[in-house]
Amino acid sequence: MTQKVGRFRPRLTSFLAILILLVFFFPLIWMLVTSIKPHDLIYSSNPFDFSHLTMDNYFKVLHDTSFIRWIINSFIVAVVSTFISLVVSIFAAYSFIKFDFPGKDSIWKGILICYLLPTSLLFIPLYTFITKLGLFDTYFALILVYPSFLAPFCTWLLYGYFKSIPSEIEEVALLEGCTYTQCILRIVIPVAIPGIISTGVLALTLAWGEYIYALVFINTNLLKTLPVGVASLEAGDVYSWGPIMAAAILSCIPPTIAYLTVQRFFLKTNIFLSLGR
């Protein structure tokens, strides 16, 4: 379909698109470049000297640091807290759509406002609670606290998604012999699976990248999550930038895979349109 209306110099914009991509990806590219440079090249006066490259930094990271433990920690915390948040959100989103009960609107607005409060505001009181409960320096500290921002986020996304499922499909199911429970289990959830999975993946990346709670609630090096652990490599000048960047690159891989698999759905269903609450 070649329409002249609305197309503004396509070739120029395609060229600009490539430029934009390069500008935004430059730090990531530099991350990669630094990670494969040997020590002398990293600190040489010409950062663009690529004469001899190496994979040594990666071995160093995996061998000399607790990197692998950090990945496992992040993985456990992210998966468990996301799972909890998803279950909570599915119930909540479904109830907001299907049922009408007094106060529903105010509850929803209240939850959204709570979601918007920055974590850098809440971390202090939560720190004292966690310590009082004896959960300091454990996975539970994070698993318990992460749903506070994951659940509203998931509910918000799932609300928009569930709304797009026509209620007639459920009505036909009821007429065909389903009870309410069978209807939810056999029709609503299977149809909603793509949305639930995408929401779960997005929530996983949010949990994966969370910093301040992970920094404050966990002290032991072996229990740190990935962002906190990798950032801590910089302190004290123990590690050169090569291994640090290698660790950084490795940290980028899971979120990248997650986003690239989900982004097709992400753009298509225009989840952001639920932004107009």
Binding site: P166, E168, I169, E171, V172, A173, L174, L175, E176, G177, C178, T179, Q182, I187, P190, V191, I193
Partner: protein, 359 residues
């Protein structure tokens, strides 16, 4: 036996009365249409019968049993939606089998029956496809098949052809009638398209603003509309409704007195209905009612013409075969056979019974 009796059904949404005190009886094996403009409440009645809406007041009986508070799955009702409502995560075969499996049939049996129905509905080649790969017509066939496989006592169809293109509509319309004749189940069909209602139904209920205005066979509704709304709604184009003052009093008054068998008639309060096809512009019948007007516009339908005639303050439509086409702006005289006149009361719009045949 599947006879439906609806008593005093009312459905309120907030302040709005979607459906007001409906009383309806639908006989076993009938093809019953509910016809009316958008928002008249026809879908509300259908959904009430299906159990998908909570009724404000009233009862619904199926074969003498009160089903008003019964779960949709226990009513013996199957429904075809305007939007098809196929299960997107199942294949066509899965869609057809789902209901039967829910009712306890074995996989083998469900599959066999599904394939038989798919054959009849000409969708056998789509069995392994998913709904998003089907066209509108194909999707609706699957929806119909799914409903048939429920072996319901009552079929409910909610504007099933509205989302299809014109040709598909005509094709499916005739197939629906064939299916009804074969299965002989009571069918309730909701539509805003009078052609569908008039061609398919045994009886039609015409609704407006939550009330039923008339129930009758297509012929009864066409030949004897109960009120001006029905008269203007049915027919394409609908009946012309004119104030009796448009016809010279010396012509109309004695006629009305005869037909209504009354001596004092308030001409202000009488409206006359004439179908566009009942006019005559060629013959000069002495007994015919006579109207004078001006030709404003002419539409060519191919087989006939529609002439727009301005008679005093009212614009009439006249549908005729023409040998000679009158020029725009010229004077034209319209004749109507007395027997073709319908009489209505202006205030209520109700039909006034003709007690004496004007002959």
């Amino acid at each position: 036996m599947a006879e439906i009796n609806i008593i005093n059904l009312s459905q309120r949404f907030g302040d709005l009365n979607a459906v007001d005190n409906i009383n309806l009886r639908i006989f076993d094996g009938e093809f019953f249409a509910i016809l009316g403009p958008s928002g008249c409440g026809k879908t509300t009645i259908l959904r009430a019968i299906a159990g998908l809406n909570d009724i404000t007041t009233g009862q619904i009986y199926l074969d003498g049993q009160d089903i008003t508070n019964l779960h949709p799955r226990d009513r013996g009702v199957a429904m075809v939606f305007q939007t098809f409502a196929l299960y997107p995560h199942l294949t066509v075969l899965g869609n057809l089998m789902f209901g039967q499996r829910m009712r306890g049939k074995s996989k083998k049996e469900a599959k066999k029956k599904s394939e038989e129905v798919a054959d009849v509905l000409k969708i056998k080649q789509f069995l392994s496809r998913k709904p998003k790969q089907l066209s509108g017509g194909e999707s609706q066939r699957v929806a119909i098949g799914r409903a048939i496989l429920q072996s319901p006592k009552i079929f409910l169809l909610d504007e099933p052809l509205s989302n299809l293109d014109a040709k598909m509509r005509v094709d499916l319309r005739s197939e629906l009638l064939e299916i009804h004749k074969k299965i002989k189940a009571t069918t309730i069909y909701v539509t805003h398209d009078q052609v569908e209602a008039l061609t398919l139904a045994d009886r039609i209920a015409i609704m407006k603003d939550g009330s039923i205005l008339q129930i009758g066979t297509p012929k009864e509704i066409f030949d004897f509309p109960d009120n001006t709304f029905v008269a203007e709604f049915i027919g394409n184009p609908g009946m012309n409704i004119i104030d009796s003052s448009l016809i010279p009093t010396r012509d109309i008054l004695p006629l009305l007195e005869t037909m209504l068998n009354k001596t004092s008639i308030d001409c202000e309060n009488i409206q006359i209905g004439i179908r566009p096809t009942d006019f005559d512009i060629t013959t000069h019948n002495q007994d015919a009612v006579r109207l004078e007007g001006q030709v404003i516009f002419i539409e060519n339908l191919g087989h006939e013409y529609i002439i727009y005639v301005q008679v005093k303050t009212k614009r009439l439509l006249v549908q005729q075969k023409l040998n000679k086409i009158p020029e725009l702006g010229t004077k034209i005289i319209l004749f109507v056979n007395r027997q073709k006149i319908h009489i209505f009361e202006s205030k209520t719009g109700k039909r006034l019974p003709i007690l004496v045949n004007p002959d």
